[in-house]
Structure formats: C-alpha cells, structure tokens
Symmetry: C2
Subunit: 138 residues, 2 copies
Amino acid sequence: MHSFETTIGRLRSEGFKLTPQRLSVIRYLIGNTSHPTAAVIYKDLKRKYPSLSFSTVYNTLNMLEKIGEVQSLHLFDDFLNYDPGTEAHHHFVCRSCNSIIDIFPRDAENVSLPEGDISGNRIESAQVVFKGMCRNCL
Amino acid sequence: MHSFETTIGRLRSEGFKLTPQRLSVIRYLIGNTSHPTAAVIYKDLKRKYPSLSFSTVYNTLNMLEKIGEVQSLHLFDDFLNYDPGTEAHHHFVCRSCNSIIDIFPRDAENVSLPEGDISGNRIESAQVVFKGMCRNCL
DNA sequence: CTCAAGTCAATAACTATTCTTAATACCGTT
DNA sequence: AACGGTATTAAGAATAGTTATTGACTTGAG
Ligand SMILES: [Mn+2]
Ligand SMILES: [Mn+2]
Ligand SMILES: [Zn+2]
Ligand SMILES: [Zn+2]
C-alpha cells in the first residue's frame, strides 16, 4: 500500500468517492503489518465508526485489492488475511500462535526463485509460505 | 500417497475400518495428478457407488489428510483441492484455465529455499505457489 | 451369536463472504 | 450555498463449501 495521499489520489483518479468509511479502512491498513482479517478490521473500526457495516469493510477491501493496494492471503482454512504490503515478499506462519510474519527478500537471501518460465509455464508471480514455529514460540 | 497396499495397511493399523467407500476414494486418488476437489471426486465415484454421500467423501479425505496420505491445497477462493502427492513439491496455477501443475524439485533446479531457520523462526515446511500462464494456454 | 464401537447417508448447521435493497451522502454543477 | 444524479452505505438475507448431528446399519473381537 502506498502513502495515504498516493492511495486516495488513486481512488480519486479511478472515479471512486472518498467516503469516511473508506478513508478509515485505508488509514487502518497503512503501516499495519499484522495481516488483519476483515472481521478484525471491522471490530476495531466499529469503535470509532459505530454505524460501519461489515459489507462496507468487504467492499472496501475488494476495491483496494482490485486496484492493487492490498492483497488477500489464503493462509488458513476459513478466512482471508489482508496484507497492505505492496512489494513482493513471503510469509512465515507459526503453527503454534498462528502469527503471520513477513519475510522480505533482504531477510531471506537463501530464497531463490526462478523467473520467466518453469517447465514451459510462464511465471507471473511466486509466493512462498513457510510453516513452523516462530521465534516467540520457540 | 503410498501404494494401495501400504495405505490400507496404515488404515488398518490406525483402527479404521476398510469400507468400500473408503477404498474407492483411495483407489481414485492413487496416481491421480489432477488435484481434484471433493465435488469432483464425489461426482466421479457416484457413478460406481450411487449411494455414496458427500459427507463420506469429506470424512474420508479428512481422515486421509490426518494420517498424512493426502494434503489439501488452498489455491482458490471457494474450495479445496486434494493432492495425493506425498513428497514435497510446489504448484503452478494457471490464471487462464485454472489448472494446477506439480512442480517437483527435480524440475525446478532454480528453486532454492532455506532450511532450518529464517529470521529466527524454525522452518518445518515450505511451499511455493507460482501463478501465471501454463504452457497449454500460451 | 452378542454387542460395543465404528461407519454410513441424509440433512441440518455453520461461517466467511457476497448479494440485495432502500436510504444516504459525495461531489460536480449551478 | 444549494441541487441532483448516482455511487455508496447499512442491514440483513443469501450463498456455498465444509462440518456436525442423527439414527440406522455394519463390522469384528470375544
Ligand atoms: Mn505480508
Ligand atoms: Mn501436487
Ligand atoms: Zn508463534
Ligand atoms: Zn492454462
């Protein structure tokens, strides 16, 4: 996710209206590294915006995903986690505390992935999911 | 997934009964590289076992996953794909035809992942999901 | 054979997400 | 500042894949 100004600029240029609900979700996500679910976002924002509805949270997240400002992650069985991280990175999932930890290329020099083709298939993106025990749970 | 004999031997030793339904699911999966969904497995087996129920397919798949004979993959939004592949491998997902292609280490010499720890977190498994256009769709 | 343990099929329940609808409010225009 | 067209909202219903429940049936050890 880009800066607040850049993001709302993109919304404006794409023809989306700047509603307080959307701005609150954007503010919530910028700089957030916790990979929150829609339910968590809703619960947290509900305190400040008591009239906020679940649908609006989902609508906003889907809109942000469509314009590439967030990505949804299928790391668990029953729900999605939302990630405002724009630069390509990987994830470590702790099987004990279920926390999701960003693994950026600079911290993962041992990770090397092919680019271009693999077995004749054209690669457009690649994501690594590590699973194990996080440093806190060890 | 191991051989038919090995797999049913494991079921027996774990105390599970060998029912025709379970055996049919096992036979269906052995050697199957198509990553079928529960719905597809049900539809295909229903022809031979008209009384088969959806729950039995799910129950059997969950049992096989619990004893490590299959793994479920969360590659799409709305359903799981089941993979009888036991050895560690990766997947390529085509965004055009949605096919899931196995990427085995021997075919992916450019894929190199760390083992042991990463940023202090202990790695127990790692999976790569490539997305793009498969060789058929290109 | 007996009977407890396990399994079956049918279907109800569950839950994260999406859809529907009437009311609201953003924002370009006046 | 007020207007008005229309995108957006809130609330709740609907959806769909998966899981849980139920009561009848099957298995197999003793
Ligand atoms: Mn992330
Ligand atoms: Mn596979
Ligand atoms: Zn942990
Ligand atoms: Zn394809």
